[in-house]
Symmetry: C3
Subunit: 344 residues, 3 copies
Amino acid sequence: MSPIFPKCGNSHKVFFLMRLDELASIVDAELVGDGATEIHAVATLERAKEGELSFLGNPKYAKQLETTHASAVIVATKVAADHKPLLKSKDPYLSLCKAIVALHGYRKHPFKGVHPQAYVDPTATVGEGTVIYPGAFVGPGAKVGKDCVIYASAAIYDGCVVGDRVIIHANTTIGADGFGYASSGGVHHKIPQIGNVVVEDDVEIGAGTTIARGALESTVIGKGTKIDGQVMIGHGVKVGPGCVLVAQVGIAGSTTLGKYVTMAGQVGVAGHLDIGDMVTVGAQSGIMFDVEPNQTIVGSPAMPAQQARRVYSWFTKLPEIAERLKALEEQMSELAESGDTPLA
Amino acid sequence: MSPIFPKCGNSHKVFFLMRLDELASIVDAELVGDGATEIHAVATLERAKEGELSFLGNPKYAKQLETTHASAVIVATKVAADHKPLLKSKDPYLSLCKAIVALHGYRKHPFKGVHPQAYVDPTATVGEGTVIYPGAFVGPGAKVGKDCVIYASAAIYDGCVVGDRVIIHANTTIGADGFGYASSGGVHHKIPQIGNVVVEDDVEIGAGTTIARGALESTVIGKGTKIDGQVMIGHGVKVGPGCVLVAQVGIAGSTTLGKYVTMAGQVGVAGHLDIGDMVTVGAQSGIMFDVEPNQTIVGSPAMPAQQARRVYSWFTKLPEIAERLKALEEQMSELAESGDTPLA
Amino acid sequence: MSPIFPKCGNSHKVFFLMRLDELASIVDAELVGDGATEIHAVATLERAKEGELSFLGNPKYAKQLETTHASAVIVATKVAADHKPLLKSKDPYLSLCKAIVALHGYRKHPFKGVHPQAYVDPTATVGEGTVIYPGAFVGPGAKVGKDCVIYASAAIYDGCVVGDRVIIHANTTIGADGFGYASSGGVHHKIPQIGNVVVEDDVEIGAGTTIARGALESTVIGKGTKIDGQVMIGHGVKVGPGCVLVAQVGIAGSTTLGKYVTMAGQVGVAGHLDIGDMVTVGAQSGIMFDVEPNQTIVGSPAMPAQQARRVYSWFTKLPEIAERLKALEEQMSELAESGDTPLA
């Protein structure tokens, strides 16, 4: 295993050369084929070249196994192919992840610690191994844990607490004031937002996202939760551990998400709601009521997925419903006019 | 009234110790109970401890009055409780606001004026008492008024005008070019956006929001209007005074909002529309037509709230409508087949 | 043609004085009236003063031709007006664009090259004529072409490639990690995102937008495409040339857009889809399936525009449908009860 060459797209990274049998062990897969095959990178089936490892995730692309130039392919245990070395895995996506980590690794940062073009307040604390990019801001009394990465122009307001191994991408804001006013006599009086944001360990937050600080308490992002870019989390929201919030989701103030809640893109959630553990929400849904654990809900307004499938199916056929209704009305009217029924 | 101790979450702030009778006068409430009770902070009913003041906003939480450890509670005039000092207020939310201001105050900034890691163009002007955070940008010819706060990495483009006491949160952009192109021969020719943005006095704009400059005129945000994070305001939009725009709202170019318009989260408004004074819009609504003043509208497409309530109620019951329609058709068909009606 | 005076709103710009016949030639229009008329600026019909050129885009505002104080007006070829010099154009919007460019020009930047408060990694390359604003970030190995403008706090991650004449507005992020995890045993394992973003020539990207880097390949923004603010583009998305994506659009990972695709505001597109050339999508639509070229689609879920018009028309009349259905059921029930039909 030795570094070979930098590569466009990630020119600061060092790549490695590994034997396929070595990789099989690292990615926890069964080797089928020549273990001496040398691999130096991971690529898609379509673009992979010799020396590269690829990945078959979806059975409908199985034909690409025959045409790919990859030197080996990670597949699910049941997949067979006789002309190509395979790494058969019970969890092929996890094996892919491990292979990329082994061959490419995570981003190597161009400096260590706090970059001089960042601002870290003298009263803030930053843990060992944490990298803070130029333009980032860490306010008074804020605490950032160990081995975090705070990318360019990310802003962490005063008093916010960020755990260990947290990644915050560029232009994301943690702890801006919540949207709280007491409106009286035509004036919206600003309520000081004296809470903060607590981001627990192993959270990743995408670029351009906003997480508001609590009015009186903490806004909390639970351990291991992953939040995409352009998301908005209102003040006092509690997001449980292990949640996945896709891009452009918006969650209004004081709502609570249980653990392992998944929300697809552009979902909106009203304030002061309880969303149970393991709930899954379809894209663009609008949630206005509490949701029991383990539900899959879809639609605006959000409904159980099974109901939503039927509702939206009929929705797109509304003109047909209107026509059938009109036809019935005409038939009924003819009956009435015919004079031989009690409707006449 | 004396400073006591810094507190986690806002460690740079100084807190005060006040008597309850003193507070009653400050928050304009009637004191019921021991006026000598000492208060040093505000907290939720659930989390308040001795020495803290809490707040009952929603009657359904009235039971928490019996269990809270708060030393006193702000309540509406009609609420009674005999085992706890109360501050009875005609406008309890405003009283809460005043109590937080009195006991905690607004954010104390860690520096004064323009931070050296900000960029303020030599041709820009910045009023007295204004604080500009690291990473913020104020372009050529821009004017920022007195007592404003421009947070980290907020960007105010050239020629924009910001009034007094305006707050702009981190990573928000004021005056980026509007989205204007003349498309011809397969090329989208950029139209120079020679207007600007005018943000009037007492406006607050959340984090990660974008307000585009006008093509020929000004985009205007009226006095006292409050805009949440992740909002998009297109070029040439005029937002009246006292409006409230919640997170992720998007308003397309040249639309005009009257005064005191309220839009809930994720609302979208098409361009070149007039939205009247005092209009209220429900979350995720899509507005495609002018709206008369004083309306409450909901839905995508937006409808009067009363209509929307009925439409969405039937929407979720579409499968039932389809079944009832099918049953009627079968009955009608039987009638027709029976031969004793003119439909046969 | 000589510089005259700076003007509020764009005080760093120099303006010019031109004769109307000179302008007619520049904007490719037919002059009707006095060619010696002097023009120094462009303004709306409503606000234009003497010495200013205006523009009639929409015939319904034709009456403003009689009241405007503009010294001349750009109009479509067929428009007539006898009391005002006109510039008659076959493409009046393009003529307007040219007139603004001639009289006002594009933004003059207050400095050249890379501002010292920006961060450009020593391994990144920046082309001639490119301006990089304070707070901007260009990561290791990134390439920015010639004559680009990278505004304040825009972040271009490592290894990303930006073509020539590209404009990236403030607080926009190019190349943050895609949202990719291998979830196993309750842990979301981060998949290194080893692709990059390629932004082709002549692209403009609004403020506060996020474009994620590909997992294994490049996320691509095609030549001449224009993207508004607050947009989210997922990892591995390929946007063709000449596309127009309005504010708050979100496109999930691995989806492909053909050329000249237009999406209105707040549209959401699911992942792994193919959207054909020349497709147009209405505001707030939700796309869950592939779309054939040249379609106009609308709605959530998205439908062909013609169908959507009928569906949404009936949607808002759902209470009427329910009432008509109920009336029919009652009539049918009366028939059945009357005993003279086979339903009895």
